[in-house]
């Protein structure tokens, strides 16, 4: 079962623009393997205000803290470029 985190995190990007690591709870989590980006569309017309994006940017990736066991995470990037750790899939 995924674990809802919903916490702002700092993300370090590779030269290609993929997340390479993120800092959560003061600990750096290093991405392992190729992270996958997914853009999910929204039903924006049901919300207030005119959107600047019609989709949400999610990155599904595997990462580990130090040498610990890796977890699967969903990172969400906001339209302002800020990152949120959305889910911990375990």
């Amino acid at each position: 079962m995924p674990h809802i985190i919903d916490a702002p995190v700092d993300v370090e990007l590779s030269a290609d623009g993929d997340p390479r690591a993120f800092i959560w709870n003061r600990f750096e989590h290093t991405v392992i393997g190729q992270p996958q980006a997914v853009f999910k569309r929204t039903r924006w017309w049901e919300n207030e205000g005119t959107p600047t994006r019609i989709d949400t940017e999610l990155w599904r990736l595997d990462a580990s803290r130090g040498g610990e066991e890796q977890h699967r995470y969903d990172l969400r990037r906001g339209t302002d470029g800020s990152w949120t750790l959305a889910l911990d899939w375990g």
């Binding site: 623009g17 980006a37 997914v38 853009f39 569309r41």
Partner: protein, 1169 residues
Amino acid sequence: MSTGSGTTFSHLHVASAYSTHYGVTLPEALAEQTAAQGANFLAVTDRDGLYGAVKHVRACVAAGIRPGLGAELAVHDEQYRPLGRVVVLAHGHSAGRGYAALCRAVSAAHSTDRDALQHGAAGHGTAQHGGAQHSAAHGATAGPSISRARLADLAGLASLTVLLGPDSDVGLAIGRRDNSDAAARLAHWQRALPAQAVVLEIVCHLAESGTVGSVTPATRMLALAENAGLPAVLSNAVRYGTPDEAVTADLADAARFLLPLAELETPQTNGQAWLKPAGAMRQVARMVVDAGLHDNGALERLLGDTEQLADRCSLDPVSDIGLGRPRMPEARIIGVTGDPVTELWRRATSGIADLYSASGSRAVEAAHAQLAHEMKTVEHLGFASYFLTVSRVADIIRGMGIRIQARGSGVGSVLNYALRTSSVEPIANGLLWERFLSPERQTLPDIDIDVESARRHDIYREVFRAFGSDRVSLMSMTNAYRGRGAVRDAGLALGLPDAQINVIAKQMWRFNARDFRRALEEKPELEALATEVRESQQLDLLVDLTAKLDRLPRHISVHPCGVILSDASLLDRTPVQASGMGLPMSQYDKHDMDPMGLIKLDILGVRMQSAMAHAVEEHHRLTGESIDLDRVPLDDAKTFELIRSTRTLGIFQIESPGQMELVGKLQPEVFNDLTVEISLFRPGPMKNNMPLKYLQARHGEVAPDYIHPRFEPILRETNGVVIFHEQVMRLFDELTGCGLGKADVFRRHLGKPEQLPEIEEYLRERALARGFSVAVIDQVWTVLAGFGSFGFAKAHGAAFALPTYQSAWLKTHHPAAFLAGLLTHDPGMWPKDLIVAEARVLGVPVLPLDVQSSALDYRVEDLANGSQGIRLALPELVGSTEGERARIAQHQPFGSLQDFRDRVHPRRRTFEALARVGALDTFIGYDRTRRHELLAHIQSLRGTAVVIRADQLAFEVELPVPRYSGLRESGGRTGAITSLELRGRTQTDLELLDLNLAVGSHQMKRFHALFKELGVTPASELGNLPGGTEVLLAGVRRATNTPPMRGGRRVVFISLDDGTGPVANVVFFHDAQERVGGQVFQTNYMLVRGRTRRSGARGVSVTGENLWNLFDVARQVKERHAVERAAAEEAASAAAYAAELAAHPVIRTPAHRTSGGGTLHQLTAAQSA
């Protein structure tokens, strides 16, 4: 040129905003963005066409990148079964071969038989993609589609590349996870198309797994390419430049499917179809490659092949597309065997001999000198064929017996006059060749031709026939979203109720939709809507979405007058599709003509030309005389007398109330005065108060100010006021010696404030050197800079003045024929009922509708008393069908009512209406008193009419209408059937009901007794009153104008018709509008109190002070009469009583008011009460 190194990425599949209801970014923005992102190539591949192609290529040239062109087209197989949509890309650096094949492919897609396609799609309904399902589900007709065989032909000689992407049948099979079907379909494509023409297109929008646009189908497509040994390229199937425009694309989808967003079956999968920069595209490529099992080099190969194809598809704007290279029809097509220049010289010189010899040898010499001057430029620019082409078209039109009149700056050319393309003599009229063409003017010349509106389509067909349909095409025009359309489509997308959208749409005017939010804040009339918007989240969204749609291309349609003429390569250079009238129409619009070197002729239908032609025809029919309007002397005294009288109703250009007033003030005496008048009555000159300045100088109230003696020859014709472009050009030339061609460049730049300092500096320096003082330069510069882009080309004015004069001449000398033309073709601003009233005043009776003599148009009839009348035309009968009218015209005259019924078989409604307006009076011996019997008889007819074949002779059996009244008199019991319909209604009411025209008498006639009693001044008498006279006017409203005024306050002009003469024009200024309120727009029958205002010798208008509804006034007067009658009776009995009392003087009589006199005061008292 480029590599797959990852620093640059070339987009090969991009829809611009000209893919209407699909793409949402204009080509210019896409090209600029591409350059800013560091890429050097961009292809635009609009859906079903090359709609944005020319704009794209020009934008690429401007942005310094390489253009590619393609089209996204539907393809079908030999059984018309759909094969999905593919991208067809033109190969470059092939001397235009690739671009030509692309144009032909698009045209082919549009010429496919739609019925066959529909059939093919229906028989193949199992396996198509979302879009096709969608449109089929909603009953849409099949769109354009090209057969694969035709596409294969065109792709030969390595001209085209066909991209099979996710929407192709191959991609759709991949989407269904049916890899073997995909492979089989791909093999089919490979067999059908030339080697190397097929390339697979990988698209990935990073959508959620399991949906369209995810990495899975993309990586499978890549594997399919590898297995088949075909190259694959990466594209982003772009629909917008930036991610924030994805919202607009959602709106476009809703508008395309006519469904609210919430109900779309296949909305775009996410918002990733934007013009991504190289880094983002490389990221996509990496994810696609990583998601499948591909070898190590797959990523670089994919990106490398993409760049390689981009190189192949880079078009050279000049050698491939022919940008900027004019192409005229071949010499033999325009009837020239030798050198076009020699032929042009020959025709022009013989034209001069013919046209100028009557004006003396000096005029001939001057014309030859001017011709030599013009021909120098023509030869220099290589436009000889152009002039021959236009003159050929003019000859064709004239050969069809159709009236033709050139308009626009081309009228300034002796060459055009000598070739008879134009009928205005330019030298004596002071027109300038350089306003039309000069070496400094880089654009193709533009000659507009006005023709009879009723014959325009005939002309198009004849031009297609004469030049060949491979050289001629109609031009299209792009219609863009404006306020109302934008709010409707945005409302539709949000699923707002129609009624609510309608209410909002009605308020969307007088501001740009993109400024919707600001308008809500600023405009008091939108206050209610603004409140609603503040309270509703959905309406708030609507405001933003409406602004997003504003100005986007919405659809294309045929241009109302543009015809493209070219050589046999035309269809290699422009794609065509069918227009509404069936003839092919280019997908390019007027902005594309000049860059593409396409010659465009504006052949514009003008109703006045049809009206005049009708008049000439009628005159010929009745008298056998032929009038050549173009040879009528331009100095006819009676014609100018009529114009000066301001009775200009029906005359071209000068019939509006404002023009009537200006004509009255100006008092034209010669043809040039008409040119001046028409040029002054334009928004620019009006706003700059030029009419007043000119009139003051013309009538000697101020001395003309020529600023400097050297300007006098230039400004004399307008008494020192600069009105014409030609004068500005001459001033520049006189001041700087720059030559007229350069002067025209300066003139055009006057409208651009940023150019002014540069022009001023040049002008001051040169003018000083040429001996003008600083004071003079200061003064003339103020005039020139203030002129800006205003004013009018005298060539336009003179071209308009000619039909003005011609129509005035016809009205003066052949009023019946002229009015018949006006009534048939309805060219002007006034309602026909007023034209009928004018005819009555001119002593030309309008004869009632009569099934024996009314034709499909208005005909002049010679009357017994030697005068002429106009017979009402059959189409005026409200509710009659075309078939009924045609049968009447075909079978008249009729022997009897029975004969009429059998041959025409009119519907009951038409039959009765004809009887009511007296069109069947022939069957009752024109005894109007029996019309109710006729109507009752028709109403009693039950059986069906005997159908008689068109060619059969009538049964000559008279079946008269029974004389019911006679029967009644003789005591017959059943005879007393009369029609109730005629009871209590006047003939005028019935005519207005069934014809919208009061034929018998003026609809105001019933009020004339009332007018007399109230002391209403007849409109015909108004001209005899001094200014400042208090008057009452009354009548029916014929026109309302709210012209732009200096100072910005709205002024309302109302034209009232009381049946006595021309309309009386009443002006309501701001204070009066406040007093009168909404009635100024709402009341149609009115009584007005005001004061006369004299404007010039003949002009009189009335400044309105108050306004009443005429029916209210009539009722009040009637009531007062009743009261007065009662009072009079009382007074009479009181008098008798008084006489009786005389003997008893103790009792006094009570005081009472008397009537008579002072009606105006009583009226106002009644009104204020």
